[in-house]
């Protein structure tokens, strides 16, 4: 299918290196080593191709994107290409000089992730002493520099009760947007699911708190909140639909419709080293296989929501059923919906211990880290129509 629209966003995972080691990290279990990362010139070429293809927003992520020495040069080129540039960071490596350089290079927005509100707890989760204090300080400097700030909180059963304080902290830090994102249960998150999935009661309380805050902070603080699929009756349109809006490029140059797609068997994800971004977007098997509705099984094929949620998430379908082409089990109409209900029941039992991520740990024995990876981001942008 080559009649697809041009992509709106590019997620560039610049590196898997990260000074933190969150147990819900969305990076793959097999982390790319730094020698395998795309060099500067290749990223610059990729940004040029992306802009020509119609990409409007560039999300620089990782791992920790500022672990790359060329981060300022990358931002500068993106901004020259008029890409809206967003840096998704844990913030612990950004000092005043780097912040000034990034702002000067044309960065628009910084999304700063917080592991928790309580400094000791946050540092324990991220596995980085003093990290939380650094983030608070950075947040203040970001808004002083005139950059837009999003505070990102990844929530799970161990911190979900503190959502109201998270929102208040975001506002106090001068953020224009706060993202309350539940852990996504792929990769490291799936390994740790029993310890992280909240109970129904916890979730309802948090959702009510978000609704109340949306009303009272209207116009001052945009609140994005992503509920875990495990408690939904209909799935989310993962990434706005497979190959419809977003491209995700891994540190090695592999291009995927979604950062989690790497787990899917039977796919060869093309690399920017071998093909043009345009060719990959419009013609590669990886992007066209689940694009649109032709591939859908029942009950999706005859469902009137098929162009709303696009059958849900392929990676979740695979992770939970072993077959990426099945209806997302998050959907209550899905033949496999039972697996979601079982996971929920399991979550009501006592939490298990967390397994911390590290490079070379395979499926992750609880050893210390080495390198890092991307934060959990709520969602790609929605294209909203505006008009009187």
């Amino acid at each position: 299918m080559s009649n697809a629209d041009a992509p709106l966003g590019l997620i560039a995972e610049l590196t898997h290196r990260c000074p933190l080691q969150c147990p819900y990290c969305s990076n793959p279990l097999e982390l790319a080593r730094s020698a395998a990362e795309l060099p500067t010139e290749e990223w610059l070429r990729v940004f040029e191709e992306a802009a020509a293809l119609g990409v409007l927003q560039l999300h620089l992520t990782g791992g920790e994107p500022t672990a790359r020495r060329d981060i300022v040069a990358l931002v500068r080129r993106a901004s020259e290409l008029r890409l809206y540039t967003n840096l998704i960071t844990s913030g612990v490596l950004i000092d005043q000089a780097m912040l000034d350089a990034l702002a000067g290079a044309g960065l628009e927005h910084i999304q700063l992730s917080f592991q928790d509100l309580d400094p000791a707890n946050a540092d324990r989760i991220g596995g980085y002493a003093g990290g939380h204090a650094k983030k608070l300080e950075l947040a203040e400097r970001v808004t002083r520099a005139g950059l837009a700030l999003t505070a990102n909180f990844v929530v799970h059963r161990q911190n979900l009760g503190r959502v109201p304080e998270m929102i208040r902290l975001a506002e106090a830090l001068g953020a224009g947007r706060v993202e309350i994102a539940h852990v996504q249960y792929y990769g490291w998150g799936l390994v740790n699911r029993p310890a992280l999935l909240p109970t129904r009661a916890q979730l309802d309380e948090a959702t009510a708190a978000v609704d109340a805050a949306r009303e009272s902070f209207k116009g001052r603080l945009a609140i994005d909140y992503v509920v875990p699929d495990y408690y939904a009756t209909r799935p989310k349109a993962c990434m706005g639909g497979w190959g419809r809006r977003m491209l995700n490029i891994a540190p090695t140059g592999k291009v995927m419709p979604c950062h989690a797609a790497e787990i899917l068997p039977g796919f060869t994800f093309p690399s920017v080293r071998e093909a043009s971004l345009s060719d990959i977007w419009y013609h590669s098997d990886a992007f066209t296989r689940f694009r649109g509705t032709d591939w859908m099984p029942e009950p999706c094929q005859s469902c009137d929501r098929r162009e709303i949620d696009w059958g849900g998430c392929r990676c979740q379908a695979f992770a939970l059923t072993g077959d990426a082409s099945r209806t997302d089990p998050a959907c209550a109409l899905a033949p496999d919906h039972q697996v979601m209900l079982e996971a929920v029941r399991e979550s009501e039992a006592a939490p298990a211990d967390l397994v911390y991520r590290r490079i070379g740990a395979g499926t992750g024995l609880a050893k210390p880290p080495g390198s890092g990876a991307a934060s959990q981001s709520a969602m790609p942008q929605e294209a909203d129509g505006v008009g009187p």
């Binding site: 041009a6 709106l8 802009a51 020509a52 293809l53 119609g54 409007l56 927003q57 008029r82 809206y84 967003n86 628009e108 927005h109 999304q111 808004t143 005139g146 950059l147 837009a148 700030l149 999003t150 224009g176 947007r177 993202e179 209207k218 116009g219 001052r220 603080l221 945009a222 994005d224 709520a378 969602m379 790609p380 942008q381 929605e382 294209a383 909203d384 129509g385 505006v386 008009g387 009187p388």
Partner: protein, 91 residues
């Protein structure tokens, strides 16, 4: 934040209104947001410069499009209020 005719609307931090050459379309780019303004909204947003008040914007548009001011005032106010509620416009 409720706009009145004395308020001076401006784009918030990290919000950009620009023409996209690839699609030949105007877009509003904001943190994790993308808005596609319609033809009327585009004309309104072109007047948002951080100096002109809402009343002034309505005057400009009324003169340019030779339209009754009262009708324009309601449309322009509602459109900018909507973007203000979404955090893209600040006053």
């Amino acid at each position: 934040m409720t706009l009145d005719e004395a308020s001076v609307p401006r784009f918030g931090a990290g919000v950009r209104f620009q023409h996209d050459r690839v699609r030949d379309a105007w877009v509003v780019l904001a943190p994790e947001r993308l808005f596609l303004p319609d033809a009327q909204a585009i004309e309104i947003l072109k007047c948002v410069d951080g100096r002109t008040s809402l009343g002034g914007i309505i005057d400009q548009l009324a003169a340019r499009f030779d339209a009754p001011r009262a009708v324009l005032a309601a449309d322009v106010g509602a459109m900018l209020q909507d973007l203000a509620d979404k955090g893209a416009i600040r006053i």
